[in-house]
C-alpha cells in the first residue's frame, strides 16, 4: 500500500507527465502566468488582467457566456448528428426518436434547442452592453464590425437550424424567410427590376438557398450543411479574430477611471 504523496510523486515524476506539462508547477505568480501563457487553449487570454476588467458590473460577461453557449451548441449538435438523417422522409421521425426513444436524447435535443435561444439572447445583450458602454469606439471599430458579422452568423445559425426538424414551424419559417430573399431588390425574382434583369424563380437568391424553386429535400440538405458545417466554420474563424482583436485593442474594455 502506497501513500497518496507517493502515488502523486510517481505520477508526476515520469516521462509522460513531463512531456505534457514540461515543468513543475509551484503555486507562484510566475507559474500561474506561465500556465496561461504556455497553454494553446488559454494563450489568447492575457496573462494578467486589471482588477477593473473583471468587474461584472461593466462587462456583464456576456461575450464569454456567448462563447460558452457556442461550445455547448457545438458539443450537443455533434452528438445529435449521430441520430439525424437530413432527408424529408426521416428528419421528423429522427427528432421524435431522439425525444422518445434514444437514451438521453431528449435532454441533448433540448439543450441544443434552448441553448440556441439562449445564445441569440445573450449575443444581443452583449451587443447592447458594448453599445451602451461605448466600447465600439476607437480603437475598437474593426472589432465591432467583426461583431456585427458574428451577430448575423448567429441569426443565420438559428434560422438554418429551424428547418432541420422538418416540422410545420420550420417549414413555414423557411418558406417565409426565403420569400423575403425572393423580394430583395436585384437578388430575388419578386424584387424590383427583376423583369428587366431576367431574374426568375430558377436563377435568383432564393433558388440558391433552397437548391430548387420550392422548399423540399434540397432545401433541407442545404440548410443542414450550412447549419452544421459552413456557418460554424466561418463563425469560428471570425471568433478567433474577434478574441485576438480584444487583446490587441488594449484588453477587455473597462470603465474610464
Amino acid at each position: 500500500m502506497k501513500s497518496l504523496p507517493e502515488i502523486s510523486e510517481k505520477v508526476r515524476k515520469n516521462l509522460i507527465w513531463k512531456s505534457i506539462f514540461r515543468r513543475d508547477y509551484r503555486n507562484s505568480i510566475r507559474d500561474r502566468a506561465q500556465a496561461v501563457f504556455g497553454n494553446v487553449f488559454l494563450h489568447l487570454h492575457p496573462v494578467q488582467v486589471r482588477e477593473s476588467a473583471v468587474k461584472l458590473r461593466f462587462t456583464w460577461g456576456m461575450g464569454g457566456i456567448t462563447f460558452f453557449a457556442f461550445i455547448l451548441l457545438v458539443i450537443t449538435g455533434v452528438v445529435l448528428m449521430f441520430y439525424y438523417h437530413p432527408s424529408i422522409d426521416q428528419a421528423y421521425t429522427d427528432i421524435k426518436d431522439l425525444e422518445f426513444q434514444v437514451p438521453f436524447g431528449v435532454i441533448l435535443r433540448n439543450l441544443h434547442r434552448w441553448g440556441a435561444h439562449f445564445m441569440v439572447i445573450v449575443v444581443m445583450i452583449h451587443m447592447f452592453r458594448v453599445f451602451m458602454t461605448g466600447s465600439y469606439k476607437a480603437p475598437r471599430q474593426f472589432n465591432w464590425g467583426i461583431g456585427v458579422f458574428l451577430l448575423v452568423l448567429t441569426f443565420l445559425l438559428s434560422f438554418t437550424g429551424y428547418l432541420t426538424p422538418w416540422d410545420q414551424l420550420g417549414f413555414w419559417a423557411i418558406t417565409v424567410g426565403t420569400n423575403m430573399g425572393a423580394a430583395t431588390p436585384l437578388l430575388g425574382y419578386q424584387g424590383p427590376f427583376s423583369e428587366y434583369l431576367h431574374i426568375t424563380p430558377y436563377n435568383d437568391i432564393r433558388f440558391a438557398l433552397l437548391g430548387g424553386a420550392q422548399v423540399g429535400g434540397n432545401a433541407l440538405l442545404r440548410s443542414y450543411i450550412w447549419h452544421c458545417v459552413a456557418i460554424p466554420l466561418i463563425s469560428i474563424i471570425l471568433m478567433f479574430v474577434h478574441f485576438w482583436r480584444v487583446r490587441k485593442d488594449g484588453g477587455i474594455s473597462k470603465p474610464q477611471k
Binding site: 413555414w172 418558406t175 417565409v176 433558388f207 440558391a208 437548391g211 420550392q214
Partner: protein, 207 residues
Amino acid sequence: MLRLRKKVSIESKKKTAMQDEKKLVTEQKKEIIDRGGTEDAQAKSGERRKFLMRVGWGSLAGFLAINSAAFLRFFYPRVLFEPPSQFKVGFPDEYPPGQVNSQYQREYGTWVIRLPDGAFFAMETKCTHLGCTPSWMESQKKFKCPCHGSGYYITGLNFEGPAPRPMDRFKISVAEDGQLLVDKTIKFPGVPGKESSEVYPQSLLRV
C-alpha cells in the same frame, strides 16, 4: 557607469555594422558593373520584377475570381427533381361547374377551378399575405388561410383577413390530346380590390 559604457559600445558596434553593410552594397554594385552589368540593366531588372509580380498576382486573382464564379454556379444545378411547371390535369368534362379541384394542390401547388358559368381557371395555392396554403371550405364556399385567417371567394378575390390582394392565377389551356394544360411559368398576379377574371380575361378558359 559600467552600463552606460556598455550601451555606448553597443551603439558604436551598430554603427560599424551599418557601415559594413553600406560597404557591402557598394561592393556588390561594383561587382555587377564589373561583370558587364550597368545601372541601366539594374533598372531594367526592376521593371522585369514589377512585371512578373503583376503577372503572378494577376493570375492568382484571376484564378480566385474564376473559382468563386464556379462556386456560385455550383449552387444552381442543371437538373431539378421537382414536379414540372407545365402539367396536364385531365379532360374538361371531368370537372363539374362550381367545383374547386384540390387534387393537384399537394404536388403542384395549383387548384383547378371551374366557375358555375363553366369557365376554367388555375390558381396558385398561396395566400397573398405571407404565402401559406389556404383550404377550400366547400360548405362556406370560400378559401380560408389557416395562418392568419385571410378569406377568398372562389374566384380568388380576398374579402377578409390581412391578405392584400387576390390570389395569383396560372395560364390554363387545352392540350393537343384534349386535356387541360396548366402552365405555371405564365402567371396572372392578383391586383388589389379587382376581380382577376375582369383584369385578366385570358386567365379564363371556356371549352
